[in-house]
Symmetry: C2
Subunit: 340 residues, 2 copies
């Protein structure tokens, strides 16, 4: 590791000012490209900056302006495809807008952990927070701590308000369910996500709504944990007494586990059982069989999310209401009419 022992201080605007023969304020004006600066002066200052390899000190800037230009992300399950894609998109969009991003991961979802993560973000003086850990409890804690910065939540019910932005999960779930019903299925199970995930709840609601609307009797959804492992275990049990012809899984990973269990039970997909997933992860097209699923545009979501959040920051102008991001049904080979 290279280390300059003489401990040279990084050049400041005053260093630049001295060498350029101007005042530090002029340098500051160049930095913030203030309109009324003579071109020649500006050029000279820029030249010196370049020579000195000057880099503005962010801490000083944040201190004097009282703004950190940082937004925080509060996330859970950040290793999964959906959240990871959104996070990446958020970071890119924020960087584009000149903001820094700081992510706090939730390992567990107890109140203490949520509080610790939020504190971590607040200590950084984030100007806004994006929540991608859509457990119901997170919002309780947010209110409880009386967080004063604006926040936006990804993945919610599809209902748009100041705080929420999402793919319309309910519509997506209805799409998937309707697809199965249209194929002729009448005994359809739903493998849902964890109970306290708003997202899981929305998909479940979409499923139940559509079943109700189409007048198809339903059974209670099974609550899972998003993992393929869980899907497999749930599948082992379900396929031991197959009193149904289709399953709508609330994500692709659990659907994968289900298909694995179906093979173990000697059931053909889609011959004996139809399966629909949710998310359309890049691997879904290569599952066996290729999975019919609901596609969400996570990147688009991340971008819009940043736009919405930034528009809520003081000093920025509010943007117009956004249309919801609509999900799309991708029909592949894991669904077919039931074989009676």
């Amino acid at each position: 590791m290279t280390e300059n022992l003489p401990k040279v201080r990084a050049p400041s605007i005053r260093d630049v000012a001295r060498l350029a023969g101007v005042s530090h304020q002029t340098v500051s004006r160049v930095l913030n490209n203030h309109p009324s600066i003579r071109e020649s002066t500006k050029a000279r200052v820029l030249q010196v900056m370049d020579d000195l390899q000057y880099r503005p000190n962010r801490a000083a800037r944040a201190l004097s302006r009282g703004r950190s230009r940082t937004i925080g992300i509060l996330s859970a399950q950040s290793t999964e495809y959906g959240p990871a894609s959104s996070i990446a998109a958020i970071q890119d969009a924020a960087r584009e807008a000149g903001y820094y991003v700081n992510t706090a991961n939730l390992t567990t979802v107890d109140e203490e952990s949520i509080e610790a993560a939020l504190m971590h973000l607040m200590l950084q003086a984030v100007e806004g927070i994006v929540v991608i850990a859509p457990q119901v409890r997170v919002f309780d804690v947010l209110e409880q701590l009386s967080i004063t910065v604006p926040f936006v939540s990804l993945q919610s019910t599809g209902h748009l308000d100041d705080h929420a932005l999402s793919v319309d999960q309910i519509a997506g779930a209805r799409l998937a369910t309707r697809h199965l019903i249209d194929l002729g299925h009448r005994r359809i199970y739903h493998l849902a996500g964890p109970q306290d995930w708003i997202e899981a709840e929305a998909r479940m609601r979409g499923f139940l709504d559509e079943m109700w609307a189409m007048d198809v009797p339903t059974t209670a959804p099974i609550l899972g944990d998003w993992t393929a492992d869980f899907g497999y275990r749930a599948g082992r049990e379900l396929f031991s007494r197959p009193d149904f012809t289709a399953i709508f899984s609330s994500n692709d990973q659990m659907a994968l586990g289900l298909m694995h269990a179906a093979r173990d039970a000697g059931l053909g997909i889609p011959r004996d059982i139809s399966i629909v997933g949710f998310d359309d992860i890049p691997e879904a097209a290569h599952f066996w069989p290729p999975l019919t699923t609901v596609r969400q545009d996570f990147e688009e979501l991340g971008r819009r999310c940043v736009a919405l959040l930034l528009s809520n920051l003081p000093g920025n102008e509010p943007i117009a209401d956004q249309e919801p991001v609509l999900p799309r049904l991708i029909v592949r080979d894991s669904t077919a009419p039931p074989s009676f």
Copy 2:
């Protein structure tokens, strides 16, 4: 969004000091739990802090101390399971150590993009950088910009030095290759990652080394892009003239694509072709057939990475050399002896 119009300034140490009847310096001492402070004074100050909901201002602290307590992550493909897991682990470990983390994603791998991302990090005055975008070019740029902060790279050749820390990719690849050879395969293809990824190169080297050591003739590896889609396309071509009995894919996603293509071509796995992957993503156990692969402990890697980086920061004591993180072969059902 709640907004206090009176624009109340957040309380500072001087506010706390005034109310506690002490000097601002005493408050500062409490904050940094300096040894010689009377218990009663400390208690009083803490009480006032609590009353005022005082939160130290990070910018001011960073400015006066000249340390940001922030580390940067430079990453590419951050939506994939491996990198995402490591990133999450790094964030957790850093937060535990009292550091903040800022991530810059690489969308493209041209020099300009790398430079922009690095600049973004340097502008934040990160004290160290973790590189998880192990393209060869990244390091060129790092040197070229004469980045002065310590940096550590994840996923390298398995050779440990000040800058690199990784699962021993070469050993992992040898493990996978040896497994195929031990089963009796002699015509083995390798589906590698992108050429400029150090990681891909290491796995390729491991493959070639083992083939050479076991005296098995090899063909040139195919260069892929890590995606299941690529694996599928490569597979379509390969399986049209199956002059081989096994493939070692340098990650699980491409292996998935290969298996998809094999099914399309009417080839049984492992009956006609054996396939080994790399990474052991959580879904691999549920592929059809369940995938034999090499497991890497990404979390462990992330944690160690932070430990190594922090130990290289001025002021912290260097930690002892770490042992390499060893990969493990996970044998499932996608490999079997060749059927002649």
